[in-house]
């Protein structure tokens, strides 16, 4: 059986129509003066889900998170948490904790005191607090730094303190605002897996805001791709990558080639596009019903493109000149200028250390792809 993406998941409450969402945004609009940050948005998030809000800055993702925390109130619409409306519930009364982008560690308190802050507010007794603090310090591996002040810690350590503080109260829902934004690449990758483990271990629901698609792809059960206050697409990482439903999503997640054309013929589940982009004709698998004469876009990822010196037998092939080569180590990315003038991206995995007679600059080669390699889009 074929499944979308090279991944198998067992956790998918969103496909079960009987499952009840844990968080529900119902026609939520948020305006700041004339500016509409969130526009009539509806969204369901399920318990124990790792849910990402992904989009460029200013797309409304942080506003959405701040509305869940209670720092902003919807102008219209309502948000439900566990079936209860959050209307009029102050931040300190919500069973929700947030990890701030700036970490917002209290500079006058030690690591220990920072972690204990929320527990003290909850009026837990002293021995319970110190047990919990020890537990949290162990969880984030900062036992040795308990007495340090935030300014005596490295960026990565501060991030851990912020995390420990936000999960110390065992909230059922944790909100994370660009939690890894300030870390360097290597640390970020390590921390991604740690966050996933933590979420599994504590059985929490995570809603995370990020502009980094790799981060969202790695960690999330589902991703909501946002733009200008609306959700463009919600899906698993494989769905938004392999089956984007708009050019915006296709372009925002990963890199993509987009060909434009008119439907010439559609029969037997195969669409033939009349394409001016260097391919005389493009054949693609039809997963929606399209009309003859309709203008469509074919989105196809670089790694689904084949590069050959000989004319291939693939249905879709065009010749062009190698324009750029970027050797990344694990993959090599090519930009090929097709005879029609369009630049296309292709990439190959470098499975061998040494390659005989590799493709070089200015070489004329063939670019081709299979009919099921890309997605047909009408927007």
């Amino acid at each position: 059986m074929k499944s979308l993406g090279n991944v198998r998941r067992s956790f998918a409450p969103w496909i079960d129509p009987k499952s009840v969402p844990y968080i529900r945004f119902e026609n939520v609009t948020k305006k700041f003066g004339d500016f509409t940050a969130v526009d009539n948005l509806s969204l369901d998030i399920f318990e124990r889900e790792f849910f990402s809000l992904l989009g460029p800055s200013g797309c409304g993702k942080t506003t959405l998170l701040r509305m869940l925390a209670g720092f902003e109130n919807p102008t219209e619409g309502d948000i439900f948490l566990d079936g209860q409306s959050l209307k009029g519930v102050a931040p300190h009364n919500r069973p929700v904790n947030m990890m701030f982008q700036s970490y917002a560690l209290f500079p006058h308190m030690s690591v220990e005191q920072n972690i204990a802050f929320g527990l003290k507010q909850a009026k837990m007794n002293k021995s319970e607090i110190s047990d919990r603090v020890q537990q949290m310090l162990k969880l984030v591996k900062l036992e040795k730094f308990a007495k340090r002040k935030p300014h005596q810690l490295s960026g990565g350590q501060r991030q851990r303190v912020a995390l420990a503080r936000s999960v110390a109260k065992r909230p059922k829902l944790l909100l994370l605002d660009e939690p890894l934004g300030a870390l360097d690449k290597k640390l970020r990758e390590e921390t991604q897996f740690e966050l996933m483990d933590l979420q599994q271990e504590l059985g929490l629901t995570f809603v995370i805001v990020t502009h980094d698609q790799d981060e969202a792809m790695t960690m999330s059960d589902r991703i909501a791709v946002m733009d200008a206050g609306v959700v463009k697409q919600i899906g698993t990482p494989a769905e938004v990558y392999e089956a984007p439903d708009s050019r915006y999503v296709a372009d925002f997640i990963g890199s993509v080639n987009i060909f434009e054309g008119e439907v010439k013929q559609n029969a037997d589940g195969l669409v033939k596009l009349d394409s001016p982009d260097g391919f005389s004709e493009i054949q693609a698998v039809e997963d929606h019903k399209f009309e003859t004469g309709q203008k469509l876009f074919l989105a196809i990822r670089p790694e689904k493109m084949n590069l050959t010196r000989e004319r291939p037998t693939d249905a879709n092939a065009a010749s062009g000149e190698v324009w750029e080569i970027a050797y990344m180590g694990d993959v090599t990315n090519y930009i090929v200028k097709l005879d029609g003038g369009k630049m296309v991206r292709a990439s190959t995995i470098n499975r061998k250390r040494a390659v005989e007679n590799p493709i070089g600059y200015d070489e004329v080669i063939w670019v081709s792809f299979e009919p099921d390699g890309g997605t047909l889009l009408d927007r």
Binding site: A69, G70, F71, A90, P91, H92, V96, N97, M98, F100, Q101, S102, A104, L105, F106, P107, H108, F117, G118, Q121, A122, H151, R165, S166, K169
Partner: protein, 298 residues
């Protein structure tokens, strides 16, 4: 060469302190242990070197009688106590007005802040003396304030404010307000608002977050502001002289009377020395607060 230059630049502040602080201090101290004598200058001994024996004799004349006199006369003790009390309450009033002002400024939009800051500093462009004088026109029985209150019908008889301690409080609070507002503003302006949100997120009420985060982090600024008001207010002379009445007892006024009216340099020097000692405690506190603020700002 550059090494010498470096040493020289290090010495400049020390020379400054030596010439403008330590030397005058020693002169005042020397007068405070001298004996009052009608003449010019009005104290003995004078150290014109004649012989070693004479020099040692003269050195033996120096004594602490002036300090003993200060301790024996309740007037001086009361003046010190009254000055400290007036300065303390003025500081509290200034804080009560200055903190909300600084908080409002720090929370104003970034484009508005420089204007507000300018408005706080603006009074410095007029002479301090003239501004205090202007308060006479406002506070006197037929002054602007009374006219306004009479016109509004709040009072039927003019209030006596001028030449009372109330006028002194008004004068001190007005004059020293910027010294309170500016350090508090500078700590509040640096305050990351997400800290307050974090406190609320972790279960603090807005009032609790204000107390545990805003006030706590503004503490170095509050302390600096309080000391910047308290220290000069204790020795204040112009305000109690112009706005205060005959019953306003402040050490600055007493010192002035001793020096200019009685021509008693020795007692007034002793008064100044004691005042300095009284103020050393808050000055040390101030230094500590500054050191802490630098530490926290890292």
């Amino acid at each position: 060469m550059s090494n010498m230059f470096r040493r020289l630049t290090i010495f400049i502040p020390y020379i400054w302190l030596l010439v403008l602080f330590l030397l005058p201090f020693l002169i005042v101290f020397r007068i405070s242990v001298s004996i009052l004598e009608y003449g010019s200058p009005p104290y003995v001994p004078q150290f014109e070197f004649e012989s070693w024996a004479g020099f040692i004799d003269k050195l033996g004349m120096l004594n602490l009688d002036n300090y003993r006199f200060l301790a024996s006369d309740a007037l001086y003790r009361n003046a010190y106590i009254s000055s400290v009390i007036i300065a303390f309450f003025s500081t509290m009033f200034t804080l009560a007005i200055g903190f909300p002002l600084a908080y409002g400024m720090a929370r104003a939009s970034t484009s508005l802040r420089p204007i507000l800051l300018m408005l706080v500093i603006l009074p410095f462009w007029t002479s301090f003396l003239i501004r205090v004088y202007a308060w006479i026109g406002i506070l006197k029985p037929e002054g602007l304030l009374n006219q306004l209150l009479l016109w509004l019908g709040v009072i039927s008889e003019p209030l006596t404010i001028l030449n009372t301690n109330a006028a002194v409080y008004i004068g001190i609070v007005y004059s020293y307000l910027p010294f309170m507002v500016l350090p508090i503003y500078s700590t509040l302006e640096k305050l990351d608002y997400s800290l307050i949100e974090a406190a609320q997120d972790l279960g603090c009420t807005p009032l609790g977050a204000f107390w545990k985060v805003t006030i706590r982090l503004a503490l170095p600024g509050i302390l600096a502001g309080c000391l910047l008001v308290f220290i000069p207010a204790v020795g204040e002379f112009v305000i109690p002289d112009l706005l205060g009445g005959s019953q306003t007892l402040m050490i600055g006024k007493v010192l002035w009377t001793e020096f200019f009216n009685n021509g008693d340099w020795t007692i007034s020097s002793a008064l100044a020395m004691v005042l300095l000692i009284v103020l050393v405690v808050p000055i040390v506190l101030f230094q500590n607060a500054q050191a802490k603020a630098t530490e926290a700002g890292k």
